[in-house]
Assembly symmetry: C2
Homo-oligomer: 194 residues x 2
Amino acid sequence: MDVRTLCLGALMGGEATGYEIRKMFEDGTFSHFQIASLGSIYPALTKLTQDGLVTFVEHEQENRPDKKIYQLTSEGRRSFLRTLLQTRPGEDRYRSDILFMLTFAEEMPLELTEALIDEFAARHQMMSQQIDPDKDDGTDAQGSRWHDEDGNPKPGCCFVAGLGQAMCDATLKFIRENKQGLLDQLKNYKANKS
Amino acid sequence: MDVRTLCLGALMGGEATGYEIRKMFEDGTFSHFQIASLGSIYPALTKLTQDGLVTFVEHEQENRPDKKIYQLTSEGRRSFLRTLLQTRPGEDRYRSDILFMLTFAEEMPLELTEALIDEFAARHQMMSQQIDPDKDDGTDAQGSRWHDEDGNPKPGCCFVAGLGQAMCDATLKFIRENKQGLLDQLKNYKANKS
DNA sequence: GACTGCATGTAACCGGTTACATGATTCG
DNA sequence: CGAATCATGTAACCGGTTACATGCAGTC
């Protein structure tokens, strides 16, 4: 799934600037299962504009670059929906340096192992909080992206958010239950070696 | 974490061919949290050989390209350990086209939604089975990578495997408990719209 | 005073994927 | 008879990251 498609999807929830789209992938709605950086989003939006899939209105701002508020065109919407129906989803890929490093826990000092686990836990804790579908991104006047025009929560979003949270919670739970055990095993393991 | 480091890590468990290393990332030990394709592994091994971090012995085979069995040099081992101690682990990144698509469940036919969920579940089921630390890759004469020379299981590996499995199981559980609910909600949602 | 947030944009670079080339064997 | 498995290797290509450029406002 390329950045262009991701941007179209982001705009399905309503208008947004490039900067705001990045936030959806950094902090927001999509943060736990997709990523996209500004350096790829801006060119993507330019391309989409050329192709007639999005339009933007320029809002002048003092002391800042003009804000470009993007919106799907009806063709953009149709195009995205077509993609949705036709695309065979790519494989899920989860990459974690921390888990890779932890595979070699025997080879590092105990403190490092513990630090890595703690960091892993901290990241998941943060993710879990960011996902929370009830928080609803707060003050947004026109209603958040989790809800449609009538204020009904979107089932798809809730399901995906719930799933993300379940994964985070499971991770956290596992760490709570197994961290000390691992540390103890490592102590024994190292004692046996010497 | 680049492919070179990944290859060094893979060889920490003992000697292997490029083809076997790919398998560790495709099916095996590392499959649930790192990926690497042959097109990047072979060049990486060549580079590592040039740098003196790995060596290989060529085993002739009939009707096949010679098999190159790679092995860490002592410098390769030291270098990997240094990397392990010095590297700030990169962010975990989980990318899932399916979850992205499911965010827009309202916009697609119910059957597609269900198919996507089922596929998601099937993939995680498979992952869960692949991880299983007890299976121990079976017939391997010199013992699998989950165990050290004395046959003791490596705590780091077990921990990471367990964590992977906990995540898979949580995913599967969530789907079991919420799939039908989502489908029902979508039915209502669509009925209300029309 | 330094850093973060808002806000856009460009371009070099780089790493990895994909596809191709080769070829016997085994399984369904 | 086609597909998958074993087994290595090269190279074009492409997508995205990183870094740079610009600049003000607010906070620590």
